[in-house]
Symmetry: C2
Subunit: 231 residues, 2 copies
């Protein structure tokens, strides 16, 4: 079964955008690689920007639907007593599942998405934000129930931190690779990455809350040590 031109263009564009970025990938680059005519992009999508928009819709909408679905499963199962760990999982998993899909291009899209988070192009940001809004709001409420000690502001910032870390991980640009000590670490081992990021995020989300952020030098009072236990 041969996919139609529209899907071929989307798949090829996804691949090349993820590899090279939006501006460094021309329509000629895409159409040559996809073995379709140059004009077919503008015929089927209208413009390069519209192609990019469709590309994000195709992936983000199902991904966030999956997030909400997982959240609803948790709510049905545990009511208001969802474990923070599972809540974070419900948010991480759909993205990481895409990340494992090296066959149909999901992994490429996730890289692209992560990079777009820190891109300057504002129009695309607005579009992505709108695609994210429903899922983010649902999860904010869920986090608020699981972490009742956090003020709305604190919760906002911590979700901000969580989303930011995930964005960086999705982008897959490993700035730490320069450290010789860890050449053995496989940054492509998604499952290990998820497990470790989850622990990090769980701890971060339930970090102690401080009132006055005016400490600039040694003050151990605000630092609370967590025992490091295996298993």
């Amino acid at each position: 079964m041969a996919k139609d031109t529209k899907d071929i263009i989307l798949d090829t564009a996804e691949k090349l955008f993820a590899k090279q970025g939006f501006n460094n990938t021309s329509l000629r680059n895409i159409t040559t690689e996809a073995d379709v005519n140059l004009a077919s992009v503008n015929y089927h999508f209208g413009s390069k920007d519209a192609l990019i928009q469709k590309l994000f819709e195709r992936r983000i909408i199902p991904m966030n639907e999956q997030r909400i679905s997982k959240l609803e499963q948790l709510e049905q199962k545990y009511g208001d007593h969802i474990a923070l760990e599972n809540l974070i999982d419900a948010f991480m998993e759909p993205a990481m599942e895409l990340s494992r899909d090296t066959q149909k291009g999901g992994a490429l899209f996730i890289k692209l998405l992560g990079r777009t988070y820190t891109d300057p192009s504002s129009e695309l940001h607005d579009a992505i934000r709108q695609l994210y809004a429903p899922a983010i709001e649902r999860f904010r409420d869920a986090f608020a129930r699981v972490l009742p000690e956090l003020t709305p502001d604190e919760l906002y910032w911590r979700m901000h931190f969580m989303v930011g870390l995930l964005a960086y991980l999705m982008a897959g640009t490993d700035m730490m690779r320069l450290i010789a000590s860890c050449k053995l670490c496989d940054p492509l081992d998604t499952d290990a990455l998820i497990a470790r990021a989850r622990m990090f995020l769980v701890a971060g989300m339930q970090a102690p809350v401080i009132e006055q952020p005016d400490n600039t030098d040694q003050n151990e009072s605000t630092t609370r040590r967590v025992d490091s236990v295996a298993g």
Copy 2:
């Protein structure tokens, strides 16, 4: 005192690159804004890429020297018993200090740097990595002493998470802005941001270590709750 052409170009390029990205900022855009001749970029720097390279060197080298300097001060003061919080501060502060410099363009550069972390352009990545290498290695050793319970692998990943979160925060693209509940949060309040990110990172860095990352459903055993205490 009038700055010379070279610095004017660097400052203007920094500003425009931060606003619009590399590919969306042309040399004509820069030279027009800087009120210098178009050819002067290639005369003084050789090429657009070389200009970008110089731009990063100008900021990153002093910033990382400052990081190492702060680390050495801590080592001199506390030997091997540096508080994790202060270690993270020593790494965060020089970047955030630049972020506060809205006068001389440091804030713009930090945004640019954060975005570059997740950019696809590989040549620039390698250059940045080389500029970072010495500071990263020093801090890795320091973290290893402060967090002796972490294996080298674990430490590597957690520093990866820390650097990633900071990169996202530096980029300043607030994907969470869509949440209506927190319109009051000022994302430009750098000091509050630092304080909150510090707490988050301190908790994340000393999260419990798990051996087997095979839990996909409800298992509260690995989740360890930290009391949330003000002050």
